[in-house]
């Protein structure tokens, strides 16, 4: 069965004002099956947000892209904006980081959800209004709130409304970028529950982008760990938590002892990620790695299979393999 979404060799560069480029996404590959929940994890600046924005072609003019994003086999990035825009919202939709500001303050929330319905020919007028009310009920907002303005909603409710809006055109894939940041701990749990049940009920594939590991554990089946624009490791949640094959993954997940507690964990690994406006030689994580050895500073590790649907980019795995060969 072909995966629903395949990302193949995706690279994104941003032109810098003084000349030069920022290589934000440096060749990433992963797959997403229909109905699967996939986490994309990493520190801020690792390129995870840029990666998912690229899937919808929501990049500024100073960006350039290489690689493929295949939706049901078809490369939607083939002709840039032209080929990706028809898929917006009706195939792939997004809940943005800081959904607080995703709504236009001078229009009612309901009208902003009806807007894409009308645009994509899903529903109009009374029909659309009814569907909005149903969506609201499904996400847990009283349906009479549709005629209210965004500033009249609390943070948690606005997030729910943003989720409702994302589902307006019945997409196949939902991208959620840090959906619980800036929310109350209690509300965070509710939103995660909501995303989970929605994914099940609507048969959605979900990509959850976050730096917060417990929530990935809570919601996702598989995840990829990104570092400095590349994927360091990718596998099932179980693999990543209990059998990590990349030092970064291990350190990241080791910093969160209790998987079931909520709230933000501030991940603190000493050092800082490398600059993305310069070429990176060798393994990008090497300067901060506690297990770096001879090949690491000079040879870039490739993403290799280390188990069933489990890949990692680390030279250490070669040693292990050799040892077990």
């Amino acid at each position: 069965m072909t995966p629903l979404l395949e990302v193949d060799g995706l690279n994104v560069w941003f032109d810098l004002p003084g000349g030069g480029e920022l290589h934000a996404v440096r060749g990433i590959d992963f797959e997403l099956d229909a109905g699967e929940r996939f986490g994309l994890v990493g520190e801020s600046g690792c390129g995870k947000t840029t990666a998912i924005l690229t899937m919808m072609g929501l990049l500024p003019p100073n960006a350039s892209v290489a690689g493929e994003v295949r939706l049901g086999g078809e490369n939607i990035l083939a002709r840039g904006e032209e080929s990706v825009s028809p898929h917006r919202w009706n195939d792939i939709a997004m809940v943005f980081q800081g959904a607080m500001n995703a709504f236009n303050p001078v229009q009612t929330v309901g009208s902003q959800i009806e807007e894409p319905m009308r645009l994509h020919g899903i529903a109009e007028g009374k029909n659309a209004r009814r569907q909005v009310e149903e969506l609201f009920e499904r996400v847990g907002i009283p349906s009479d709130r549709a005629s209210r303005y965004p500033h009249e909603f609390s943070g948690g409710m606005r997030q729910r409304a943003a989720i409702a809006m994302a589902l307006a055109c019945e997409p196949k894939i939902l991208l959620a970028d840090e959906p619980t940041t800036a929310l109350d701990v209690m509300v965070q749990a509710q939103i995660l529950e909501l995303l989970s049940s929605l994914a099940t009920d609507f048969d959605l594939a979900l990509i959850l982008v976050t730096h917060d590991l417990p929530i990935v554990a809570h919601v996702c089946d598989r995840a990829a760990v990104m570092y400095a624009g590349v994927i360091a490791e990718s596998g099932t949640i179980d693999d990543l938590f209990h059998a990590p094959r990349h030092p970064y993954t291990r350190l990241l997940f080791a910093a969160t002892p209790d998987l079931h507690a909520g709230g933000d964990r501030v991940v603190s690994i000493p050092g800082a990620p490398p600059r993305l406006d310069q070429p990176i030689v060798g393994c990008p994580f090497e300067p901060r790695c506690d297990r770096a050895f001879e090949p690491c500073p000079t040879v870039t590790p490739a993403l290799k299979r280390v188990g069933d649907r489990h890949v990692a980019a680390c030279h250490l795995n070669d040693i292990v393999r050799e040892a077990t060969a």
Binding site: M56, L58, R88, F96, N101, A102, V106, P116, L119
Partner: protein
């Protein structure tokens, strides 16, 4: 009803500002400027006549008494009498006002239309030559003194398009028999065009810059990205999410520019000898006709206060977040 609070507060503020304006008017003209009568150029005036005038004008009363009389007069719509013509000031100001309003309206209308158009396109096509053209034409006109621009228009444009550069009436119209209403209308319009054009150019500069700036700000907002993500075309996004939201700061700034419109039209009417309220102000200054000057200033100030109030209420209507 939402925001009765807000409307009430704005009305109160407007009322208070009116009081301040009226008082300022009084203070400026009666108290600080010395005796209006002694400023009269009146060589043959005897001391007795001057004394009589003083009593006539109520200048022999105490300042507080004068203030009280002034307020009472105002309440009756009495702005005093022109020193030059002895006619009531209101009568002197009314015809010029009727001339100025259409001219200013014409100029402002065109400057808003072009300003918004250029501003929106500039912001939308940011960084392209369209943006640069808009930006530089805006900046240039914004920096030009209106009277100088008027002189340039007279010098370079008037001859080319064959439009009159002074007055509001063609003196030869109607001499050889009654002129038709249409002919009169056309004549008025022809005389109004160049002053309106000048005013329009100056204002266009300001508005183009304001709109561009407001649009750039708006287009950087998150909800614009959301709109694009939802599949809206560039055009629909600019119109429905960009411009609609940028209207808020635009309305405020346009209202704030009314003071400048008035100032600009004073100098422009002077250049074109256009018999509007601006020219009346200049003539009053020249002839030291203080009552007329005082009346005109009061009217202009009140106009600005009202415009600001309208802008406040409009803002209230446009922005659902406003409630205090």
């Amino acid at each position: 009803m939402r925001g009765l609070d807000y409307v009430g507060k704005r009305l109160l503020f407007a009322a208070l500002t009116v009081v301040v304006a009226i008082t300022l008017n009084f203070v400026l003209f009666r108290t600080l400027s010395g005796d209006a009568v002694s400023a009269l150029r009146c060589r043959q005036c005897t001391a007795q006549f001057k004394e009589y005038q003083r009593q006539e004008l109520g200048l022999d009363n105490s300042k507080w008494e004068q203030y009280r009389i002034y307020l009472v007069d105002l309440a009756h719509g009495n702005l005093g009498k022109s020193l030059r013509s002895e006619a009531p000031v209101t009568g002197e100001l009314w015809p010029p006002l009727k001339n100025t309003v259409p001219m200013v309206a014409l100029g402002t209308f065109f400057s808003i239309v072009f300003g918004v158009l250029v501003g929106v396109i500039s912001a939308w096509r940011r960084g392209t030559w369209a943006d640069r053209t808009g930006l530089w034409t805006g900046l240039s006109f914004y920096s030009m003194p209106p009277q100088w621009l008027g002189l340039l228009v007279v010098l370079f444009v008037a001859g080319a398009v064959g439009l009159p550069t002074s007055g509001i009436k063609d003196p030869t119209l109607g001499i050889l028999g009654d002129a038709s209403t249409w002919a009169v209308f056309v004549d008025r319009m022809r005389h109004m065009t160049l002053p309106a054009l000048t005013l329009g150019l100056v204002l266009y500069g300001e508005y183009a810059l304001i709109v561009r700036s407001a649009m750039l700000e708006t287009l950087g907002e998150d909800y614009v990205l959301t709109a694009r993500a939802k599949g809206l075309s560039n055009w629909a996004t600019v119109w429905r999410h960009g411009l609609r939201n940028a209207l808020l700061p635009i309305v405020t700034l346009v209202a704030l520019s009314l003071g400048f419109i008035i100032g600009g039209s004073i100098t422009i009417e002077y250049v074109f000898s256009y018999p509007g309220i601006g020219l009346a102000v200049v003539e009053a200054i020249d002839q030291r006709d203080y009552p007329v000057l005082q009346g005109a200033f009061l009217l202009l100030t009140l106009a600005v206060i009202v415009a600001n109030l309208v802008a406040d209420l409009l803002y209230f209507k446009l922005d659902p977040r406003v409630s205090t």
